[in-house]
């Protein structure tokens, strides 16, 4: 099982959860598992075939754009982080 960490704005679509355990040996599989449980997240993260351009995905601490994208291998104990941009500097 790998661990998916959700940035604050995504948590509402996951019942408020900050972390979700998923099964899957690739990022694509792990995300599919996530969407099974929280379909609203698919709309936000991957409405089409590809990952949305404004969400960054990291396996452990590496951006998957520089690994194998959706085909990046995921092992038990890995952390997948989903991080959209935050604007707040809060005036």
């Amino acid at each position: 099982m790998a661990n998916i960490r959700l940035a604050p704005v995504l948590r509402a679509s996951a019942g408020g959860a900050k972390q979700v355990s998923v099964e899957g040996s690739t990022l694509a599989a792990a995300l599919s598992d996530l969407y099974l449980r929280f379909p609203a997240l698919k709309e936000q993260i991957q409405p089409g075939e590809e990952l949305s351009r404004f969400i960054n995905v990291y396996v452990n601490d590496q951006d998957v754009r520089y690994l194998q994208g959706l085909e990046t291998g995921v092992q038990a104990g890995d952390t997948i982080t989903l991080l959209p941009a935050m604007a707040g500097g809060f005036d």
């Binding site: 990291y58 941009a85 935050m86 809060f90």
Partner: protein, 389 residues
């Protein structure tokens, strides 16, 4: 002079050869590399002027410091003082310590100056500054040189709000000589839960001006330049060009993209910070060295996922933490110390009490800083809404 001191002098004069200032000057010109010049006067005398290239080892610390200052005892060491007396006595000490080629400059610095030879005056801190920054001066990696660097530095803060407040406060305390603050807003009581540069009496005042008042009261060494305007395409390059480091404390995407592109065109590092509820992020965007904002976020999120568009709150202490981390990265950049967060996104989860790090890469296809980048004409997504002021 008593008998005993006269005897010391006589012996020193016997043992230690002397060169006149003219001879010293000639030898320095000919064999510069093989000669080490050591000034044995007190700090006060040194500060008023010394021979260029000289090492400073005051007589009071001579035995303790000379071997580190001049490890090679076979080198020709020329000592000088104000008049040529202390240097002779210091010379015999050095001979006793095993230095083979010790010379004393007759007539000392006084004669050197009278001959019209060149000298340099080091930059000195006022007594008040030496006391104020004493804790910096005591750190070997900062010291006087580091403090002078800070005093000469110019940092621009975009926003004197949640992130800008703690950052500006501590950068001012540290003695960053010039702080530019760009903020068109006025102080509101809802700001006071976190924007500590301001206070109850400043409600209604321009934030940039309130910031200046607080900063001047803390540290009169700091020059505060205020810009009562918003950053836009017409002013961003002109404003940021004047500064060494930009601290991004904005609250909306269009400004972040605008700032990013301009910082690439002007080659200025941007210390980025952002917060939301209980979490924050910090990283340093250094043009062409690491990724830029667009490498990280080629597009802003849709309004539904852009927290700045909602009625979002933030734990007051959180921008304090993140702003301070930004100030820390700024100081590291100014002093060229440590490893700035270039290519690293530090994330902080306040509730979990956890810091994590994600690795960022420069995107070779980035529209702003990539191989075929064109930062001068990229969209800034002005239609994505900003926090209601």
């Amino acid at each position: 002079m008593g008998d005993a001191s006269r005897e010391i002098m006589r012996r020193a004069r016997q043992q230690v050869p002397e060169w006149s200032p003219g001879q010293v000057r000639e030898k320095l010109a000919d064999d510069g590399q093989d000669i080490v010049l050591v000034d044995v006067r007190e700090k006060l005398e040194w500060n008023e002027g010394h021979i260029p290239g000289a090492l400073h080892v005051p007589r009071g610390f001579l035995e303790l410091q000379i071997e580190e200052a001049v490890p090679d005892k076979s080198k020709t060491v020329v000592l000088y003082c104000a008049g040529g007396v202390r240097s002779l006595i210091a010379g015999s000490t050095l001979q006793q310590m095993g230095y083979d080629n010790v010379i004393s400059m007759s007539g000392g610095f006084g004669q050197w100056k009278n001959n019209g030879y060149g000298f340099v005056q080091p930059r000195v801190m006022t007594d008040a500054q030496a006391r104020r920054y004493s804790r910096h001066l005591l750190i070997p990696e900062v010291g006087e040189q580091g403090q002078f660097k800070l005093l000469d530095s110019r940092v621009l803060l975009i926003g004197a709000g949640g992130l800008g407040s703690p950052a500006a406060y501590y950068l001012a305390a540290a003695g960053v000589g010039t702080l530019g603050i760009i903020d068109a807003d006025v102080v509101d009581d809802s700001n006071l839960q976190r924007q500590i540069l301001h206070n109850t009496e400043r409600i209604g005042q321009y934030k940039a001006e309130s910031a200046r008042e607080t900063i001047k009261a803390l540290n009169p060494d700091v020059n505060v330049v205020t810009y009562l305007e918003r950053l836009d395409e017409t002013n961003v390059r002109r404003i940021i060009a004047d500064y060494d480091v930009i601290l991004d404390g904005t609250d909306n995407f269009p400004t972040r993209y605008l700032l990013n592109d301009a910082s690439i065109l002007e080659n200025k590092p941007v210390v980025h910070g952002s917060v939301f509820r209980f979490e924050g992020q910090v990283t340093v965007f250094k043009p062409y060295d690491g990724p830029c904002y667009r490498c990280l976020y080629p597009e802003p999120p849709p309004p539904a996922l852009a927290p700045s568009c909602a009625e979002a709150g933030v734990l007051g202490v959180l921008p304090g933490t993140i702003g301070l981390l930004q100030a820390t990265e700024t100081i590291k950049l100014l002093l060229k110390l440590g490893d700035p967060l270039v290519g690293r996104l530090m994330t902080y989860d306040a509730l979990a009490g956890e810091f994590n790090e994600l690795r960022l890469f420069r995107d070779p296809n980035c529209p702003a800083c990539g191989e075929h980048g064109h930062p001068e004409d990229l969209p800034t997504y002005a239609e994505v809404c900003a926090v209601p002021a």
